[in-house]
């Protein structure tokens, strides 16, 4: 006798049907609140369900109906404020629409991103929302999603050449305004620390910088403009070099806050006063920007709204419109406006 405590079977709609004295199909309809069932029966069924501790079996329902009522999201890092806030927005939308959200992180690795896609396909999610990893240069894995008849929404770090719904920030506009702000504060020699060229987000931020510079007709030496300076350490090194240069910048616009932090450390280490001698403006409004001394100016990306918008593309546009024929379908393209957060690092007291 290996075990006499046999795992009692879970309650099914058949148990409820038997107890209430109706057909299982009617129980199913009652539990799903279909209009074709009388309220009397609905009440009866629901009461009995609670009484018997009935738990809806998603696996069975999904297998039968072919839909999982589940969205999968793939982000590079869940512990980056921008992404975790975006996820919070998606969760909100999912909750409102009675869907579930499965979160995967690619850890900025292409290989892991491909694995995430496979996992979500296996889970049979209805829709995949993705923000690409730094490493990702090919989007063949996204074709897999289409092949499996799942909806695809790209957000933030998107591949513009891959056709799908896209939700992004107004990167170029935001950067333009950020640099304009620096110019208004009297900075004239503004350096730019960007990201790798294959990601559209960083390209757009660079465009915004260049536009502002051009409009103000500023003279910027070529070596002020740097790509691939996303990380604190890289930025710090690069900033030190520039600041020691015979003709040093008087301000930095960086496409991440980590990069801005590196610049701040560089300035402090050289005994330069921020914002008097060096102005700094980052991007993303990470939590730590409030904690540094001086505090760091940055761009707030409305990440939660952006996440909600991404999920809502699925709920409002795709789900409601029904199974439109894919070929003729148009893809949603939404831009979420960001705003400048001016803190100490870029605000000069009007003495200069």
């Amino acid at each position: 006798m290996k075990s006499n405590i046999k795992k009692e079977k879970r309650t099914t709609i058949y148990d409820i049907a038997r107890e209430v004295g109706i057909a299982p199909s009617t129980v199913s309809k009652a539990l799903n609140d279909l209009p074709s069932v009388s309220n009397k029966i609905k009440t009866l069924v629901k009461a009995k369900a609670t009484e018997l501790n009935y738990k809806y079996n998603f696996n069975a329902a999904n297998l039968r109906s072919g839909s999982s009522r589940t969205i999968g999201v793939i982000v590079p890092k869940i512990n980056v404020a921008f992404f975790s806030d975006a996820i919070a927005g998606m969760e909100e939308a999912c909750f409102e629409n009675n869907h579930r959200l499965i979160i995967c992180q690619s850890d900025e690795s292409y290989t892991k991103e491909v694995q995430c896609v496979q996992t979500l396909i296996h889970q049979n999610v209805d829709c995949i929302i993705i923000s690409l990893s730094q490493e990702t240069r090919s989007t063949v894995h996204l074709n897999e999603v289409k092949k499996n008849h799942m909806e695809l929404v790209q957000f933030d770090r998107v591949d513009e050449s891959f056709e799908s719904h896209r939700i992004v920030n107004d990167n170029s506009q935001a950067s333009y305004r950020a640099v304009k702000h620096l110019i208004e504060q009297g900075y004239k020699k503004i350096a730019f620390f960007g990201g790798s060229g294959h990601l559209a987000v960083y390209n757009h931020r660079k465009q915004g910088y260049l536009q502002a510079i051009k409009e103000a007709d500023l003279n910027i030496p070529y070596n002020y403009i740097l790509d691939n300076a996303l990380k604190k350490e890289t930025a710090q090194k690069a900033a030190i070099e520039l600041l020691k240069y015979k003709d040093p910048p008087d301000a930095f616009f960086t496409v991440t806050d980590h990069s801005a932090l590196g610049v701040l450390k560089a300035a402090i280490s050289l005994g330069l006063r921020v914002p008097d001698q060096v102005g700094i403006m980052g991007f993303s409004n990470e939590a730590f920007t409030e904690f540094t001394f001086p505090t760091l100016s940055s761009v707030e990306q409305q990440s939660k709204n952006l996440g909600k918008a991404a999920a809502d593309v699925y709920f409002n546009h795709v789900l409601t419109s029904g199974m439109s024929d894919k070929d003729a379908r148009h893809f949603e393209m939404r831009v979420i406006e960001s705003s400048l957060i001016i803190r100490q690092s870029s605000e000069r007291v009007p003495t200069l």
Copy 2:
């Protein structure tokens, strides 16, 4: 003619069976690498599966087998370094054991935590790993997990009165060592900023503080010891009050880094030099502790290991031992050792 592009059916094991010329049950076994199938057939089946773009259907398999090969984790906040690192550890363990991980966040709300539990039960996960929200004072919802025959592992913020596996930090020991470090640096009037008393983690951290104080035979006024000062703002206010007190503390041990940050701001705002006049030591080693000026000392909790250990309790202990009869079963209780990270805020140059 509503749509002539009919959604082609997905490939099933029946399709593979037909093409290879064997029985569906054999295909299933081949795909699952069961030893009872010849290598020749396995090779054939797998090749055909790839060729037909076959995707394993979890819903069907789970429905049939009764197991979902899925673990659900509930954390208060995914964007807190401690939790996101712990999740990374769980993901690693899940990947090694061919399981999936579903992440839910309670957002520090009891109501949402209950919802998360319901969601995961509906998803039919095999095991729930949970760290309780700040608000949680009752654990009736955890009984639901047991009722549904799912394994339960508590980690970090655990309810010690609820029987389950538990993985925690050496909170008391770590705090003891942290305070001892402050004492060795010559601080004599060490204040304590704690959390709410109903959570065991914070109680243990307080115990460690008290023990170190007692051993060193320090005289601490009662008002140096504060509960419910987890947040930056609360801590900042409280610290200002204490530092203006006729007999002010010369150091603070706080149970979170946010609290430590509040103290740092308070000290700076009063023109006090850290660490010369005021020593500060936090807890959790949040990313921003490196970014402040001066940098903050803290306790590193090995969060990734802790997360991995939590998942491994399920894989090694529960899964391997089979369906042991629940009543006689013992619960795992593991303690992960943390280490001190000494930074500028607590290290006095030996001049005092």
